[in-house]
Amino acid sequence: MTRYLASRAVGMLVTLTLMSFVVYVLIGLMPGDPIDMMIAGDPKMTSADAARLRALYGLDKPLVERYLAWALQAVQGNFGYSRSFGQPVLAVLGPRLLNTLTLAGLAFVLSAGIALPLGIWAAAHLRSRADYLINLLCFAGISAPPFWLALLLITLFAVFLGWLPAGGMADPRPGASWIANLSQQLRHLALPVLTLTLVQLGAYTRFMRGAMIEVLRQDFVRTARAKGASERRVMWGHAFANALAPVLTILALSFGGLLSGAVITETMFAWPGMGKAIYQAILDNDYNLALVGLLVATFATILGNLLADLAYVWIDPRVSLGSDGP
């Protein structure tokens, strides 16, 4: 196990290094540099100002040289400053990562928690009215654009009913009790979490349903039934564990994607998270911020993959982490 984890850690490091180079070069090759944007916004900037600032930000050096300088600092733990915020990149990303983890984590747990039993139930009641209804709702969830869903929920729960805030993070009142502050937090989280949950729920349910249908057709399930195992035992004891492996892969990958991919939900609900930060950093030519943000998202995806692989071993004793492991 230790050997396996060590080899995966090395692989992870290599992937991140390659990714950092590719992302740095890609951002660098995008049209325009930060100084171009400053010139566009400030008619009083002179050619001398432009040259001075390019030298100051190191933009007058070749791209590879700039990358090597950044990488050298990065291995010492210094990921540079965000040009837009004038702060160390980690100081800008840290709170946003936490915000996204809260939002995406809650939505992930909720959607997986609802989708897995729902998918199993639909598979067990194949082609029943309930199955058709679940399928219909799943397709509705998959097809609904997140921005539209978000607006719909805001209009219903914030504008018409006035039950929940339309967006933003909780603003803790000085002197308020912890329970009041907690309920504020939960109220602000409710709509974005609900949006993300609804967006993911359909896909997860369909994956689980499909995997279960596939497994329920296997010989070992028929054998279990023939041996007189109860339907509950067949579903949860035999079929579920076998159907879970492919679903786990999808869940793990999608969680990594959520860290950077919840940009629409974050924008609609004014939730300062990673997705929004990365998107804005790319638009603003904030190289360091965009690069580190994308690396964090990559790391989360690789980590999710690793956890999924470890979970295979846990749920399926036939899988081992030897040299021929997953």
């Binding site: 400030d42 002179t46 100002d49 432009a50 100051l56």
Partner: protein, 553 residues
Amino acid sequence: MIRRLLSLVFALCALAAPARAKDELVLAMTQTPGTWNPLISSMLAKSLISNMTARPLTAWDANWKLVCLVCTELPTLANGKARVIDLPDDGKGGGKKGMEIDIELRDMRWGDGVPVTAKDVAFTLEVGRHPLSGVASSEAYKRIIKFDARDDRHFTMTIDRVTFDYNSLGLSLLPAHIEKPIFDANPAEYRNKTAYDTDLTNPGLAFGPFRIVESVPGSRIVLEQNPTWTGEKPHFKRIVVRIIENTAALEANLLSGNVDYILGELGLSLDQALAFEKRHKDKYNVVYKPALIYEHIDAMLDNPLLTDKRVRQAILLAIDRKAISEKLFDGKQPLAHGPISPLDPMFSPVARQYPYAPADARRFLDEAGFTDVRNGIRHNAKGERLSIEITTTAGNRVREQVAQVIQSQLRQVGVELRIKAEPPRIFSEGLNRRNFGGLAMYAWVQQPEGVPRSTLHSDEIPSAKNGWSGQNYPGYRNAEMDKALDDAERELDEGKRRALFADIQRIHADDLPVLPLFFRVDPFVIPKPLKGVVPTGTLNSSTLWVEQWRWEE
């Protein structure tokens, strides 16, 4: 069980229900401020908030009149606080003239009790001039060649030229007692170490009516009254500014009561405000303030199809701007006849104007040689098709709509317009490098009585040689225009300057390197109980007078 859960949820909702007193105002805007240091970069989102915590030396008010905010009296030649002087010989022949300006600072204190003094002004100039400080535009600081402080509140500045806008001193002061040690330690690292970004809630950074007490980047900024403010006491004790980037969500927040007021300078779009007004005018006053935001189309003069000014004139004559304004903007956006706003004191009504005249447009195109019409599109004798690309910013729905209407109107006179919408950063890059093929539609932000030098002077054509600075993207060259621009900047007599501005507008209207469209309006959706908000229409935002804002049910 379900009932119990529901009761718990309702109890939590009740506990957390907003209990805002009327002494708190919740604002919203669509942009996240970046670095907070007032010198490092200019950004509207930042200045909207910074204007509540500090003030520039002078600013343009809502009547587009220059007023003192940190000084006691505006220096002018008439009151003797500004003088034209002979500059000492700089070794290049001498004989140059400059100006001296006397300033007296108001009695003001930073939030930590330290007085605002001439030392702060001197330090601000030092940072502005330093090549490593990271200040974007250093020209205004470099112009001040001498600074003499007589005492803490009186000083004289010498500027290196004679210029009419000598007293437009939009200088934002830095607190020397906090920032100078940081700057002196390492000027090259100042932009990363400034207290504005490392210690934003330090009371010593504010001398305005409010100070920042909390900042959650990307989410909100909380301000509270600054006890050391010496001006009119603000009516609100606390102001919360929320960042909501999506304008549909912004509107929903306003309607749900999550937000009291959306800052008009950075809030709803015009079409959104027009629709909002129709539905909610019982609760909100919508003020459409014409701003100095000049929507126009740059013509690439290196494009052979656009070299002939008759083609450019024909294009403008074929665009029914009045109808566009009426149909798309409810007639709220005033038409532009050139780079100077009709509301600007320097506007010249004499300069040629271009009404919608498709017949004249056809005649001009005929005269320019585009007489052969094939499949509705004109061609010249060389067989060149009059097909021009117009580039604009993707995602700006209003601009994309305008481009489509123009496309259809030009088609009527035989001009084919190909619309290309690009993301803003790609669009900016194309402009800066003069890398657009035909026309480019975007906006400039101006200031009252501003000389349009950077957009029309031949020295301002971006090129590799000048580091792609300057904003004369069409590549316009006219010696007469250059002279008028140079003279207007130097002319101190208002009457003579007005004549020079008239020349600038006359030459511009004749050559038409830029096709004027509209002056944009900022829609301010103000809840009826909120009083005292006065939109300015200039870069000096309404928040400069935030102490006058009050809530009257």
